[in-house]
């Protein structure tokens, strides 16, 4: 029982300091779940991150695996809820208040302010993906093929990423 409470407190707290995505909180998460609570070893922590990259949905679902190790299926559920629930509710609240402002001129101004910055943030995310994930000629060809398929041929991203996984199994050993 106390493990469940600890999971709620830890992942709930971490979610509220995760600005700009989950990557930034990984060092602190590792200190807490490996050193502090001893739920997983360092290698298991690294592996849970790796496994979250080959399952669909948010990478932060890795906490489900840590929660499972700490307290079984209830732990997995509690870990996921704590990571996504409270900040999701906060985002809903902001979106709700925001949409009540309607289409006043000031909203167009705010949107015009946010758009270029968001485009830069997405480009930076793209940069990180290339830096971490595209390190060989084969990987470059996969990335270029994925880009062409989605941008040019309007192929569904789901099909493209499955094709990437198959190429990976065949060639990226």
């Amino acid at each position: 029982m106390s493990d469940l409470v600890d999971l709620v407190l830890l992942f709930g707290r971490l979610s509220f300091v995760a600005f700009g995505g989950g990557i930034g909180i990984l060092p602190e998460m590792e200190r807490a779940v490996v050193g502090g609570h001893g739920w997983v070893t360092h290698q298991q922590f690294v592996d849970s991150y790796a496994l979250s990259q080959v399952t669909p949905g948010p990478g932060m679902l890795m906490v489900v695996m840590i929660g499972y190790r700490a307290a079984g299926v209830p732990g997995a559920l509690v870990a996921g809820l704590s990571m996504f629930g409270p900040t999701g509710a906060l985002t809903w609240l902001v979106a709700d208040r925001w949409s009540r402002l309607g289409d006043r001129p000031v909203m167009a101004l705010i949107r015009g302010t946010l758009s270029p910055v968001a485009l830069g943030l997405l480009s930076a995310g793209c940069f990180t993906l290339f830096r971490l994930g595209v390190g060989s000629v084969t990987a470059s060809l996969v990335a270029a093929g994925a880009f062409a398929a989605v941008a040019g041929l309007k192929v569904s991203p789901a099909l493209v990423v499955v094709a990437g996984a198959i190429v990976g199994m065949a060639l990226l050993r």
């Binding site: 270029p116 990437g164 996984a165």
Partner: protein, 184 residues
Amino acid sequence: MADDTTVAKQPTLFALFKAFLLIGMTSFGGGRSAYFQDALVTRRGWVTDEEFLEAVAVSQVLPGPNIGNLSAYLGQRLRGWVGSVIAVTCLTVPGGLAILGMAWLYFNGMPASITGPVGKGVAAAAAGLAAAAVVRLRGGAGSLGGWGIALLTFVLFGPLGWPILLVLAVCLPPSFVVAWSRRG
């Protein structure tokens, strides 16, 4: 006008459920906002480029996992709080079940390294998908000044690796000036 275009494009709850469930089941690799862009902007036209970029910015400004927030935000925009709950649930449950299955296999002896080659292929494809999403959303820059802001944001957050809050503190004020000057 009250009956603006966003209302006209409002999907049914079931359509919202299907769209987010598909994203939840298929969004592999990093840069997952690319899947949202493709599904909600390009394919269904529920959200405009500018609305999408606004959603991305707000999701990053607020704390929490980015695409969890992005789902909550877009869900609210499309169908209120019920939309938020459906969006976040559909985004997280399929992957949550998948990783639970992975966890069970892993703690019963499956080495994580067997997923290595798959992960590499997925990571490379995801990089290409993210690039395609950026290209599609390029109109969000709006003007030469906007391109300058986008470039500055990119350099600070990408290659230089500044923390998000610092990046926003530096980039939002000049972006506001650019947006202000364009309204004429």
